[in-house]
């Protein structure tokens, strides 16, 4: 038994319309006979059959358009009996190349409040811990240039004589950047501190089960649950996802969580997990692993260092119980997590042993008050009770 298929009749033909049958069931056909007319985009084409035999059954009626490869008729060999067959449509030809998206329009609307700064200047300012907003640009069109940043660094050095000249090697330079940022934070930001204890039982059990289902290189660390909880909590308390700029707070539309990563030779760097509230845990974990690897090999992009809208630091592994962190300017909050510790905990009046974590918040009192800080911490604690929803 042979199937007569809708033939592929031209370079870009995907389907054809059966116009006329030149044979009827029971007729004898031989290789090379014209069996039907098929209409393609170009014209009506006489179609030959490649197998000889008796035309058993016609499956597609004239006037029907079907994709190339669809069975149109069945041809039986002499004396062969054929069971009942339903018309089978062959799978669609592989899709043509993905449609190319049109290039975005070129209307460059200069975002209000956005600084014009050359890439190299932005990178240097980040490393030297200089706030770009504090620099008066001399470049063409009001652009901040590398010289402007260097001049600002010199001016600051004069104002604070004891800091050593910018050291050559990277670790020392990072140390100097942290020192500058922390000193400025303490000088300018009125910190207030809150902490709460989080019952981590459900989160850990869910995590263990989840990791059993995942291949080894997609396993999750508990830290990523903390990051996601903070990100989702920020949706409820947006004033903690902001920056302080020239005397007023600017709420940030995107939630980019700066994740504190300790470097081998000492020092700390907090690159951003961008849009952390919108990404599933698996993706966040993958990006986090990549950030750690690139942070420790010194190949982070300058944008990743300057787009965090809040910072999260977890010192549990170092055995620390609670954290009273210093906020990274220009951010307005920092969330810290201590170690997971089995401690007595009352559940519905009974004392039981539970894995507990101390979650602490350092926040800028110019921007938020303790009342909002408490709501923020409670939101984090509540979200961690439903890990499957993170």
């Amino acid at each position: 038994m042979a199937e007569f298929l809708m033939p592929h009749l031209g370079a870009d033909m995907a389907a054809g319309t059966l116009r006329v049958w030149h044979k009827k069931p029971g007729d004898r056909v031989s290789r090379g006979d014209i069996i039907a007319d098929v209409e393609t985009d170009k014209a009506d084409v006489e179609v030959e059959v490649f197998t000889s035999g008796i035309l058993e059954k016609i499956l597609i009626e004239p006037g029907t358009k079907v994709p190339v490869g669809t069975v149109l008729a069945i041809i039986r060999q002499e004396g062969e009996v054929i069971p009942e067959v339903s018309p089978r449509v062959s799978p669609e030809a592989p899709a043509a190349a993905a449609a190319v998206s049109a290039p975005a329009a070129l209307a460059l609307v200069h975002e209000e409040g956005r600084l014009r700064v050359s890439p190299v200047a932005k990178k240097l300012a980040q490393e030297l811990g200089i706030d770009l907003a504090s620099i008066s640009p001399t470049g063409p069109g009001g652009r901040i240039t590398r010289e402007d940043v260097e001049r600002a660094a010199q001016a600051r050095k004069a104002a604070v004589p004891e800091t050593a000249p910018a050291p050559a090697d990277r670790a020392a330079r990072i140390r100097q950047a942290i020192a500058a940022a922390m000193a400025r934070s303490k000088r300018e930001i009125p910190h207030y501190y809150l902490n709460t204890t989080v019952d981590f039982e459900r989160a850990l059990t869910w995590l263990n089960e989840e990791n059993l289902k995942r291949p080894v290189d997609e396993r999750l660390l508990y830290g990523i649950l903390l990051v996601k909880a903070v990100a989702l909590a920020l949706r409820e308390q947006p004033e903690f996802n902001a920056v302080w700029n020239e005397g007023q707070v600017i709420l940030k539309p995107e939630i980019n969580i700066g994740t504190a990563i300790s470097l081998r030779q000492g020092g700390l760097i907090a690159p951003a997990l961008l849009k952390a509230d919108r990404k599933p845990l698996g993706e966040l974990m993958k990006e986090f692993r990549d950030l750690v690897q690139r942070a420790r090999s010194g190949s982070l992009r300058s944008s990743e260092l300057s787009e965090s809208t809040i910072t999260v630091t977890s010192l549990g592994e170092q055995g620390v119980e609670g954290i009273f962190g210093i906020i990274y300017p220009p951010q307005v909050a920092l969330v810290g997590f201590g170690r997971i510790e089995q401690r007595p905990w009352s559940v519905e009046g009974r004392i039981v042993s539970r894995p507990l974590i101390t979650a602490s918040l350092s926040a800028d009192h110019r921007v938020s008050d303790g009342h909002r800080g408490g709501l923020f911490l409670n939101a984090i604690e509540r979200l961690l009770q439903q890990p499957e929803k993170l």
Binding site: P7, H8, L9, A11, V45
Partner: protein, 337 residues
């Protein structure tokens, strides 16, 4: 043909085996093209496919006049030339499937068969594009004093409208190059009949105007093509400069698979089918008692087996790994010449 050289008419008295061989070669081409059309309709071959059905006598006849180290340049309708030259059907079918075992590693497809081991310098898809290449090959042989080696350049009546046709004939004649121009005049350049494209339709006359002596032959008669090609090749081999052979033939199928063939009448096609190079030659051999039904059945079975194996080879051959995408763009060993 220049009257000076006297060519020994070896063709008429050919032994029976030779004529059966000619028939077999034409059958191989005919069945190969039918199989190509079949697998094309099943979506196994894509892009363009230009079938040689009806013109078999030209490739088979002309090929008999060429030696192993002669050079050949053809066009995108070159399945017949490649098969007649000896490139295995397996590697041609695999090439049309796009497999790495294809004669061009899947890079060329139906229009660009290459086989340097047989000095087959390829199919060219730009009409007339191969002629200057053939001129260069013949120039190289002349400059290196490769006595007795000629280049045969196949092209169609369509190329006669390209500037490169006149430039190439002129340069070959000017420099007396060992080049045999073989024009397969199948009366149509895709959808344009010769008379609707050429004010002067006597192509051989055009060649003479460019300084290249020319002659015409019946492209549907394999023995006539063989005889004319032998005479021409001997003359070119003798160093008398280029020659032009117009072989009048006809393609029974459309220009390519996508062509609805609206520009020719059914009657015209039917009339030319009565001069099918295979059926007419088979009848002639039968009349002379050189071919029995048994012989013909054996030929058909042998050809069918060869083609079944070719399809199987193409189906099971591997694809070229993507990592080799740009491997052949440049030649790796630099400076080693």
């Amino acid at each position: 043909m220049s009257s000076a050289s006297k060519i020994e008419p070896t063709v008429q008295g050919t032994a029976r085996e030779h004529q059966l061989f000619l028939l077999r070669e034409m059958l191989r081409i005919r069945r190969f093209e039918e199989k190509a059309a079949e697998v094309y309709s099943l979506g196994k071959i894509h892009g363009f496919l230009h079938l040689y059905i009806g013109e078999e006598a030209v490739a088979v006849g002309a090929m008999q006049a060429l030696n192993a180290n002669d050079r050949i340049v053809a066009t995108y309708r070159e399945h017949g030339q490649a098969l007649a030259r000896g490139t295995p059907a397996n590697s041609l079918m695999a090439e049309m499937y796009g497999k790495v075992t294809g004669c061009s590693h899947g890079h060329g497809g139906s229009m660009h068969f290459f086989d340097i081991s047989r000095r087959f310098y390829g199919g060219y898809a730009i009409v007339g594009g191969g002629l200057p290449i053939a001129v260069g090959l013949a120039l190289a042989d002349k400059m290196q004093h490769h006595e007795g080696i000629i280049t045969a350049c196949f092209f169609g009546d369509g190329a006669v409208a390209e500037g490169e046709f006149y430039e190439s004939l002129n340069l070959a004649a000017l420099w007396k190059l060992p080049l045999l121009f073989l024009c397969e005049n199948n009366l149509y350049a895709m959808g344009t009949a010769l008379a609707r494209a050429q004010a002067q339709t006597n192509i051989a006359l055009k060649a003479q105007a460019m300084g290249v002596p020319g002659e015409s032959a019946d492209g549907m008669d394999v023995l006539a093509v063989e005889e004319a090609s032998h005479r021409a090749a001997q003359a070119v081999r003798a160093g008398n400069g280029p020659l032009f052979l117009e072989l009048r033939t006809y393609r029974f199928r459309a220009h390519s698979m996508a062509d609805p063939d609206l520009y020719r009448s059914k009657e015209e096609i039917a009339e030319w089918r009565t001069r099918d190079p295979i059926t007419t030659f088979t009848a002639r051999l039968r009349e002379r008692g050189l071919l029995s039904d048994h012989d013909l059945a054996n030929l058909e079975n042998a050809v069918a087996a060869e083609l079944a194996e070719a399809v199987q080879f193409a189906e099971t051959s591997p694809w070229e790994p993507i990592e080799d995408l740009t491997k052949d763009v440049c030649t790796p060993e630099v400076g080693k010449l």
